[in-house]
Amino acid sequence: MAPLAQLEASMPAEVLSVSGLRKSYAGREVVAGVGFTLAAGQCYGLLGPNGAGKTTILRACLGLTSPAAGSIRLLGHPVPEQAREARTRVGVVPQFDNLDPDFTIAENLLVFGRYFGLADRQTRRRIPELLNFAGLSGKEKAKLATLSGGMKRRLTLARALVNDPDLLLLDEPTTGLDPQARHLIWERLKRLLAAGKTILLTTHFMDEAERLCHRLAILDEGKIIAEGTPQDLIAAEIEPQVVEVYGEDAPHWADSEGKTYARRLELSGETAFCYLQDGEVAALLTHLAGKPSMRRLHRPANLEDVFLKLTGRELRD
């Protein structure tokens, strides 16, 4: 067994710790006692429907809003007291594009470097590497208006790396992107994790969280309602097997026969979601084979099932 001191040294340091965080706007508590910690090298996901408080938590971590209660330590600095010092080692990809439309690609990076106190000479040396990472090599002089949505997102990611940060905060990094652009962003984020960066990510795409996050927290109405690795959450919160049954007859079937085959069954429009234990699948599939008017899909349970179980199927606007 390794001596204790050595064990401690190899233990990942805490990059971010948040505890008891509370914040209200206009009498409504949007963050109601949130706490989590982020170890170095980890990707941590904050998942939640719209209005769950994800962006407010990120803003509080950056010291851009003062919480009503709670404490935040970011890269060894208390926040908001020393937020400015802490932000020196952080890169941020905001939810909405705020690149500088008056500048070329290279100028966007150069000017952003100045906000970190970097000399232009230093940033200029890094620009080819950053653009290569963002898949924008050779586009130094391109005007911002000529970039697609995916290219702008990648440039925003490159801009967040201009100071070679230890921690990246990504607020819904792939919202509004097509599948090709999303996969490219995911691949880049994995490369950053492999290079030892720590990532805090908010998203409402469950596949994104399942692919990228080592640990995640599901938020609803300002509270963490579940926390753990994606696999642990699926194992702990939901049955392992799902059979989706759809077609015009599905609602009627769900109300009558469906219930006898699936102990837990959710109906959404014309689709019945049957949640089953491993041993219960065969009987249902045999039964459905005699019902050609309904189509079916059998798949393992995923994070989206957990999310919908915990946060419900109603719209959150």
């Binding site: 706007y25 950056l62 851009l64 809003t65 003062s66 400015r84 010092e85 932000r87 020196t88 952080v90 941020v92 905001p94 909405f96 705020n98 690149l99 500088d100 439309p101 008056d102 500048f103 100028e107 000017v111 952003f112 100045r114 906000y115 970190f116 106190g117 801009r159 100071n163």
Partner: protein, 257 residues
């Protein structure tokens, strides 16, 4: 929220960002800023001036030239702090991007304030160059106008940032121009001497920062040392500092709540 400004050198990075954008369009921007006041100066100066005997001991166009330097500085600072500032703060979200870096809101607002004042100074100085070419400048004392218009720029940039901090949209700025800037221009001795106004209104004039700028600039351009220099400078400096601080408090309330 009411804490005094905590500033750092990062404000310069914000200033330089705006400068880099301006530099791309510098020539059209300077000419554009010059055209409007020049049209008024020549139109009113020669047109109306032809009907008038001397005003306050000089030709009307020379009288108006001094006023135009000040009003043009005021307008340039106001436009920058209102429309351009609002674009960067609210529409383009440029400030949001900057605030994610180790730059405080205080630094961002200070950078904007100094930038609007610098651009206003350039606007006033461009007019100085033109009127000096026309022979309306009496002595090198006119160079002292530069710090005065910078201070004037700071005063109106600060006032403009207050309005920007409160603005829900661009339309809001119309009220500021119609209710404050235009009356200020008419009551500050830009177009005619304050002494021609009724006594009660002269009292209002003495409280307007633009009037104090005009009272410094007009004698300096005619080669005279202005009267009451400490008073005029104090009014301008107090307006600049108080408005900057109030703008900052309002910006903190708007953006960091």
């Amino acid at each position: 929220m009411l804490a005094p400004p905590r500033l750092s050198l990062r404000a310069i990075a914000v200033w330089r960002r705006n400068y880099l954008v301006w530099r791309k369009l510098a020539i059209p921007s300077v000419l554009g800023n010059l055209a409007d006041p020049m049209i008024y100066l020549f139109g009113l100066g020669y047109g109306l001036g032809g009907l008038l005997p001397q005003v306050a001991g000089v030709s009307y166009i020379q009288f108006l030239a001094a006023g135009t330097v000040c009003s043009s500085t005021m307008n340039a600072a106001s436009f920058e702090a209102l429309y351009s500032g609002f674009s960067r703060m609210h529409v383009q979200k440029t400030w949001d991007a900057i605030l994610n870096a180790p730059v405080s809101l205080d630094d961002v607002v200070a950078g904007e304030w100094l930038w609007a004042a610098a651009k206003a100074t350039l606007s006033g100085a461009a007019i100085l160059v033109v009127i000096s070419a026309l022979g309306f400048i009496a002595s090198p004392l006119a160079l002292c106008v530069l710090p005065v218009i910078f201070l004037t720029g700071l005063a109106f940039a600060g006032l403009g940032l207050i309005v920007t901090a409160l603005a829900p949209s661009y339309d809001f700025f119309m009220y500021y121009f119609t209710l404050l800037i235009t009356p200020m221009m008419l009551l500050s001795g830009v177009f005619f001497p304050i002494e021609t106004l009724p006594a009660a209104i002269q009292g209002i004039s003495s409280a307007l920062p633009l009037a104090h700028a005009v009272l410094l600039v007009r004698p300096l351009l005619s080669g005279q040392v202005p009267a009451d220099i400490p008073l005029h400078l104090s009014v301008l400096a107090a307006t600049a500092l108080c408005s900057f601080w109030l703008a900052l408090v309002l910006m903190r309330r708007r953006l960091l709540s």
